[in-house]
């Protein structure tokens, strides 16, 4: 892209055409992403309703929200061009549910080894147990999975709803980036149009510019 100050009228017109093409590409992508996002959100509501049916009407509501909330998802913003921002989703470290399941897998191993060494000294066994007990609270102090607000054994539909909304969040970030691109295109277009008007004599420009709008 040439700097706007050095442009002649023909270059400005070409640049305007380029911006329009870029804008329509962005609009088309936005429409596709929007459709995908809307269907994901609909799917999420459907899963939430199924969970309500399974758990009871009042079991999935605002009353169950946790007293402490730490975001597992954030967005990183970086400015690509002037006034054009790109949003990237940052997923935080694994929620508590996964670390628990990993811990249970690890617990099985040592306990089997202890059984094999039954004749061994008792002290080793007793010293292992407090170690496990102290390690658990450390794991629990991490991010809490929002699924746990609604119970420990939540239905599959609620897990499905969570996955769907997580996908939705990724799409939302892409949509936000596209919206920012469209806004940046719009600003550039207006700035260039203003420059074009200054170049082209008033009467000829008004004739040229009004033609497409009148037809």
């Amino acid at each position: 892209m040439a700097p706007a100050k050095d442009m002649g009228p023909a270059e400005i017109c070409e640049e305007l055409d380029q911006i329009i093409l870029q804008l329509f590409d962005a609009l088309e992508m936005l429409q596709n992403k929007r459709e995908a996002f809307n269907s994901l959100v609909e799917q999420g509501w459907f899963s939430l309703s199924k969970s309500r049916y399974a758990m009871g009407n009042k079991s999935v509501s605002t009353l169950q929200y946790g007293h402490q909330m730490t975001p597992l998802v954030r967005v990183r913003t970086c400015e690509k061009e002037k006034d054009q921002v790109e949003f990237d989703v940052i997923q935080k470290d694994a929620p508590k549910a996964r670390s628990e399941s990993e811990a249970t897998v690890e617990d099985i191993g040592p306990s089997e080894q202890v059984l094999r060494q039954r004749k061994g000294p008792r002290k080793a066994e007793s010293s292992d147990q407090p170690q496990e007990a102290t390690s658990r609270p450390v794991e629990g102090s991490g991010h809490q999975d929002p699924l746990n607000w609604f119970g420990i054994l939540v239905p599959q539909s609620l897990r499905q709803a969570q996955r769907t909304f997580q996908e939705g969040i990724h799409l939302a970030a892409e949509i936000a980036s596209l919206q920012s691109e469209i806004e940046a295109c719009r600003r550039r277009y207006h700035a260039l149009l203003e420059r074009k008007r200054n170049f082209v004599p008033r009467e000829s420009s008004s004739c040229e510019l009004l033609k497409p709008s009148l037809s």
């Binding site: 804008l23 609009l27 429409q31 929007r34 996002f37 809307n38 959100v41 609909e42 999420g44 509501w45 939430l48 999935v60 509501s61 605002t62 929200y65 946790g66 007293h67 402490q68 909330m69 730490t70 975001p71 597992l72 998802v73 954030r74 967005v75 990183r76 913003t77 400015e79 006034d83 921002v85 949003f87 940052i90 935080k92 929620p95 929002p146 699924l147 609620l158 709803a161 969570q162 909304f165 997580q166 939705g168 969040i169 939302a172 970030a173 949509i175 936000a176 919206q179 920012s180 469209i182 806004e183 940046a184 719009r186 277009y189 207006h190 149009l193 008004s206 009004l210 709008s213 009148l214």
Partner: protein
């Protein structure tokens, strides 16, 4: 704060907010200030507008998700917002499907090609 990324705020009906909080966007900061608002039938318009303006002012919020029918109630505030961050995304709700002709961003894009803009 900037190194950790920004938050996603949600302003919507119960199911929309619950869904996105389940997805992991929720935060209660040390002052117990939430980054979401559940709009119910009895929620006052002033409260919605105040919450939305609050989200706009916070520098730790990158995207605001808002149900389109709620956005319609505070359209003047959304139209007046012309900064890139936070980005405002209008999303459908259970009772109100998404209508592109109401979306602020698309209306502005459409406005590029009117006779008024080409004067």
């Amino acid at each position: 704060m900037a190194g950790r990324g920004k938050l996603i705020a949600v302003l919507g009906d119960e199911d929309t907010v619950t869904g996105f909080l389940l997805g992991g966007v929720g935060e209660l900061d040390k002052h117990r200030r939430p980054n979401f608002l559940v709009v119910e039938k009895e929620t006052a318009l002033a409260e919605i507008e105040e919450a939305f303006r609050g989200f706009l002012c916070r520098d730790d919020i990158g995207i605001i998700l808002i149900n389109q029918y709620i956005a319609e109630m505070i359209r003047h505030v959304i139209d007046a917002h012309n900064k890139s961050i936070p980005a405002v995304l209008e999303i459908p709700s259970k009772e109100h499907p998404y209508d592109a002709s109401k979306d602020s961003i698309l209306r502005r894009a459409k406005g590029m090609f009117t006779a008024e803009d080409l004067r």
